[in-house]
Point group: C2
Chain length 448, copies 2
């Protein structure tokens, strides 16, 4: 079957189609409002970084069913649903926090306003995109905060969960402040700066390590970063110094060396000394190998002379928190606010806005979650219109610009929220009118 | 740029291309042998289930560079590399464990034999596929083993890491013994059985819960599974009994109810009693909501009358072990065995085979990792030829058949390996000839 798994509308849960069949038969096509939010922060996170909106808008703009997809669906669902899907294009509104916005639990980061079957159909894929990019951007932010001024590169493609995860992890980590990625496709599709050196196999395939270094330098004279831990790290650093002398007349500069195993701090000190004594003060030391923000903090705290880090698996799978407790919930239908009251999973009803307040010096002080219409607040409204009647209302922002704005937002975080090992609760309050609405709906249900 | 991110050969690390440029310039195109293996089991796993080979073979068969991809590369690399890539098609051999094979650390599950630049180019994407599907199949196996005879459904699409992860998690969990998935695309592309009910939004959008149930039943008369925890679970079970009476004359049967929150065991007991007293003994109880193999074991151990489970996030992100310590390493080049000796990451050199031995009753007893040529063993060889000179040598096996064979393999696992909370080391030994080769290479390096 000719189906593009990246964009197929069959990337949905079966219940979306069974519900749609019923909504259509019951004529339930009035306006629904769904909001996406996280219920709580995962352990070890003090804030989240919103990411993935660009892919969501792209998905909504291009959502349509191919002939193959319709004929497959026709073997399982009745003609009225198939006819509806054949003519489907998204006509709803999207309000959302811009990518790179810092946010907290119970704050909607995306609101969909659309006919009920439309808003229901898109549920799973919207969550799938926003959940993952937000997860990775929020993980990446922690490394950015503990290693200011260092080169940080996403090395995680191989252990990311499939093709799209690899690509979007590069995007989300760059958006959150990383310097770039090793994933070539992320460079080609998103213009993300690319970094790369060589694998151990490159060294091993040569009979001699020095010769491997020299071959690599001559073939890639503008990007000479040599992997020096295949056999003996310090001995290899000595070979790098010798090579630099041989290459001097050709004006080939050895940009850096990479350490990938053993005691990185100890090796970095030794290698720095060997390089400096050999006149290679400007050759940088780059480290990789099971790194995460905690190891970065330890390495930099100990004064290890490391200039850049490749962070792979821990970043691309968000290893200490590989999923978020997020939900996409119906908050209003046909003009009436709705509330789910399942045990431990009750939601705040109605169309909401999030207002952010700042201290006089510019630092974030607190947020208020309020009803959009009846509950005016003076803070900065975080949800803004992104798509109206199925049309995007802003041009795609350059990723570099989003990244700069994200970095600027970190500066306004209260300092305790930037620390890795402190759990700090940023104050988010529910407005009185919203609390009253929730109570009113509960009371109505009791007397129903 | 028109690039399909699922199949683009730019889904690679930058260093693959920098190394290729150098290999080509140095004429290093002799035969290389790379093997993929895991270094150690993650905590809480006693064995792994190999999965993803089908997607790897598909990737290798179709690997080629489009005009857009070549022109992007041409802005960064020199003409000889671009010419080479323009003509690229994979001509190597693949030996691998069939999907569903149970395996252990240090056992190669895939071996690539190809000209060095070819074997190097494919590294990252091959790991990306095999790592993820193996991760998920190995996680899924644990639920299958603790819940024999129960309906197990993958519910994880929304929190899987992107589109491909959602799709391949459905495939890998089915291959490992799950009953099916909620992900429609997995049904359309792989023929995986689909299951689905309704969301809370469906109930909330109706003014009345009973009416929601009735509408759903009439719209989906052959698949009436009703979500009963939106407001009050036991009250909703009573409404299901009333509805069943109204639907009786129309021969619409209520197949099941779904619990998604609260104390699932307590609700299941209450609901079972209400359904039975209402004459609905054949209506099944299906549970979901933050489930994993540990909660299944507890629920079933306590005698909770639950017939099936939807397992979502914990499965699709392999939440307790979201990554494996796996590697794809050069073991031979130009006829000579190679060994990486990096601290803590040394490899077993040469082309290897894994032999499995069984006890007389059929139970697995131990494995031996040996050199393929010089080290004949009598056990069952686990690596078999899958592709020769770039051509697949077997037809794609039906997924249902792979699943049946996987289930049959579980029966031969030593019982201690099937327990969730016991860490048991299955014996894997390194053959004397392989140990001798490793020592010989180390000795040569010392005197070098």
């Amino acid at each position: 079957m000719k189906i593009n798994p990246f964009s197929s509308p069959l990337l949905a849960d079966l219940y979306q189609f069974t519900m749609l069949q019923s909504y259509l038969e019951q004529g339930m096509q009035e306006t629904a409002v769904f909001e996406l939010f996280i219920r709580k922060l995962p352990p070890g996170r003090n804030f989240m970084v919103a990411a993935g909106l660009e892919q969501v808008l792209d998905f909504l703009e291009n959502l349509q069913f191919s002939a193959e997809e319709l004929s497959w669906l026709a073997t399982r669902f009745r003609p009225p649903l198939i006819d509806y899907l054949e003519r489907f294009h998204f006509i709803g509104d999207v309000h959302a926090m811009p990518e790179g916005t810092l946010f907290f639990p119970n704050e909607p980061i995306l609101r969909i306003t659309a006919p009920l079957p439309q808003a229901q159909l898109i549920e799973s894929r919207i969550i799938n995109i926003l959940h993952f990019e937000t997860l990775i951007a929020s993980k990446a932010a922690r490394s950015v905060l503990v290693a200011p001024g260092k080169l940080l590169v996403d090395f995680g493609m191989r252990r990311a969960h499939g093709a799209e995860a690899a690509l979007l992890a590069a995007r989300a980590s760059y958006l959150a402040g990383f310097s770039g990625s090793a994933t070539v496709l992320a460079g080609a599709l998103y213009g993300i700066p690319l970094y790369g050196t060589m694998a151990h196999a490159y060294i091993q395939a040569h009979a001699d390590e020095s010769m491997a270094f020299e071959h690599f330098a001559r073939s890639n004279p503008n990007n000479v970063v040599l992997l020096i831990d295949t056999y003996d790290t310090e001995a290899a650093a000595g070979k790098v110094v010798e090579l630099a002398k041989r290459l001097q007349t050709e004006h080939i500069h050895i940009k850096g060396v990479r350490l990938d195993s053993g005691d990185l701090a100890a090796h970095a000190h030794n290698v720095r000394r060997i390089l400096d004594q050999g006149g290679l003060q400007s050759t940088a030391i780059f480290a990789s190998g099971n790194l995460d923000e905690y190891r970065l903090q330890t390495l930099l705290g100990s004064g290890a002379p490391i200039d850049g880090f490749g962070i792979g698996t821990a970043l691309d799978v968000s290893i200490d928190a590989p999923a978020l407790d997020c939900a996409y919930k119906l908050q209003e239908y046909a003009g009436k606010a709705r509330r789910k009251r399942s045990e431990g999973k009750a939601t705040w009803p109605g169309r909401k806005q999030v207002y952010r307040y700042y201290a006089p010096q510019g630092e974030m002080s607190h947020d208020v979650v309020a009803l959009e219409d009846s509950d005016p607040c003076e803070g900065e409204p975080l949800l803004v219109p992104m798509m109206l009647a199925g049309q995007r209302i802003h041009r795609t922002r350059p990723l570099q610009e989003i990244r700069q704005q994200t970095l600027a937002r970190y500066v306004r975080l209260p300092e305790s929220l930037t620390e890795l090992e402190t759990t700090t609760h940023y104050p988010v309050t529910i407005s009185p009118a919203l609390q009253a609405l929730a109570k009113q709906l509960d009371d109505e249900a009791m007397t129903h």
